[in-house]
């Protein structure tokens, strides 16, 4: 899928480091990250909690929390250094080019407002049609069964899977060039997980956008992604095509990660693709 001529990467972090300065002390979150994401690529960033993978995803949209300070390096999105962008420019970038899929879908919706009202508020500034008919069609595009009923509900009245579909519909309606999904299925049940993942990948491939998928679920990542980046305590310890990284892990840390998947006899045996 990736174009053979090395097209300019849509996202590139060079020597990027950041640390959390709180009253409890200084904790280094990222330590010299170099990462490029090509257009249309499905990239997965795996690692345990605290490895800094979420900080990378926040850095791309310049959404780092206040206590997190960038100490070195830069982040370029679509060729522009986002640190130098004025507030309006970064807002425009988020609005037109970036898309975020939340980890906790229900919490990402305004609890005091019905779904329909929230969709109208989010889509109207983009000039998208917000009449009942197009909203129903939008929800149908993410396989929500009775869209007109769902539109009338409040966020706490919909299931996790349903809320995630709404969030995906909301994000993809803006046709982002780069989609960042930070553990999109972490708060969902097993059966619903696969449906959501297939939906995300299908929509991403159809729109030609790049996907940056943060996860700690190696099994799912293996099935959908082109390339995998393994992170441990703020550093990238390994990077490469999905099959190669999971079957012949070079870094020790990756080996322990892979070994932790139950039911795998020996990580080095070749799995039928």
């Amino acid at each position: 899928m990736t174009a053979n001529a090395p097209a300019a990467p849509v996202v590139s972090l060079t020597g990027f480091s950041a640390e959390y300065r709180t009253r409890l002390g200084v904790t280094r979150a990222l330590d010299g990250i170099d990462l490029d994401v090509a257009r249309g690529e499905l990239l997965a960033i795996v690692g345990e909690s605290g490895s800094g993978k979420s900080t990378v995803s926040q850095a791309i949209g310049r959404m780092l929390p206040r206590v997190c300070h960038v100490t070195s390096g830069s982040v370029h999105v679509l060729g522009r250094d986002i640190a130098s962008l004025a507030p309006d420019a970064i807002r425009a970038l988020r609005r037109e080019s970036l898309g975020f899929i939340p980890q906790d879908p229900i919490a990402s919706l305004n609890p005091t407002m019905r779904i329909r009202r929230q969709l109208e508020l989010a889509l109207r500034p983009l000039g998208r049609p917000t009449d009942l008919e197009s909203l129903t069609e939008l929800l149908a595009s993410v396989k929500i069964l009775e869209p007109d009923r769902v539109l009338r509900l409040y966020p706490h009245e919909v299931s996790g899977g349903m809320a995630q579909r709404i969030a995906i519909a909301l994000t993809m309606a803006r046709e982002p060039e780069i989609l960042i999904a930070d553990e999109p299925t972490a708060s969902l049940d097993a059966q619903v997980r696969d449906e959501i993942l297939t939906l995300i990948v299908d929509l991403v491939q159809r729109s030609g956008a790049s996907l940056i998928w943060i996860s700690h679920d190696l099994g799912a990542v293996r099935r959908w992604c082109d390339r995998i980046v393994v992170m441990h305590q703020g550093r990238i310890v390994e990077e490469g095509p999905a099959a190669q990284v999971l079957d012949e892990p070079r870094a020790d840390y990756t080996r322990t990660l892979v070994a932790a998947i139950p039911g795998r006899q020996d990580p080095t045996t070749k799995e039928a693709e």
């Binding site: 097993a190 139950p262 039911g263």
Partner: protein, 262 residues
């Protein structure tokens, strides 16, 4: 009422749940929903055996844990610890059962030294021991869980997550209980540290012969530490099998989806 099938006391089940049901009601009026956390769950834990209990969030794992620990009285069914039903006062069972819970950050009282936390169960169950004898047992336990006894003088915030869980295991074992519940005991730890703690639990069980109920959503951890596996799905016990049998070919469709999802 001794169960007939285990006449010999030392193989009598440490914990027995017979047809235990628990339901929670949330909301009220038109939107009143009763959630059946446990419906007619029956399971046993034999001495020296670890029963792995797996299930997703909302499957009733945590309710089962609090019922097994005597913290929650079931709506119906019987709960027997060492053949006796739970009495109102927890002092009676003090020392016979213990727990290692999920959050290493909150497993120890941040304002008390680690040694004092480990010694606390002894002050209830083993009043016969003098203070220095109790301290001596604490030192032994810390060594058994692979910690330097000098840690007794430290505060929990000076320890890592893994070390704090080791202290929890030490506290759980200090009164030589016959039954321990591990409720998501390693889920919050890094993979490498998880492996060490799971190995530690296996070792200590071989030596102390306590019965254990290991509750987790992580099949990998259960595979490493459980002798038998029981699967909970929305309050129903859908399958119970030996670990090796369970991972080779799960019977129940839900168990299959769980294993496939890996």
């Amino acid at each position: 009422m001794m169960s007939a099938s285990h006449p010999d006391t030392d193989t009598a089940p440490v914990l027995e749940l017979r047809e235990v049901s628990v339901a929670f009601t949330s909301g009220a009026g038109a939107k009143r929903r009763t959630v059946r956390a446990m419906n007619a769950v029956t399971l046993e834990v034999a001495p020296g055996e670890t029963l792995g209990l797996v299930g997703e969030s909302g499957s009733g794992k945590t309710t089962t844990a609090s019922v097994a620990l005597g913290l929650k009285r079931p709506d119906s069914g019987e709960v027997l610890l060492l053949g006796e039903p739970f009495t109102r006062s927890r002092r009676a069972n003090a020392g016979k059962l213990q727990a290692v819970l999920q959050h290493p950050h909150w497993s120890l009282n941040p304002r008390r030294k680690v040694g004092e936390s480990v010694r606390e169960p002894l002050t209830v169950a083993r009043r016969d021991l003098s203070r220095s004898e109790q301290r001596q047992r604490v030192t032994e336990m810390l060594e058994q869980v692979g910690l330097n006894p000098a840690f007794a003088e430290r505060y929990p915030h000076e320890l890592s997550g893994g070390q704090r869980q080791r202290v929890s295991v030490a506290r759980a074992l200090v009164t030589e209980p016959r039954f321990i519940v591990f409720d998501e005991a390693v889920s919050a730890l890094d993979v490498a540290v998880q492996m060490q703690i799971l190995a530690l639990i296996r070792e200590l069980q071989a030596e102390h012969r306590f019965g254990a109920l290991f509750i987790s959503h992580d099949l990998g951890a259960v595979e490493r530490v459980a002798d038998r596996v029981a699967v909970l799905f929305r309050g129903d016990l859908v399958e119970t099998a030996s670990t090796e049998e369970f991972f080779r070919n799960p019977q129940h469709p839900y168990s299959q989806t769980l294993l496939e999802a890996l």
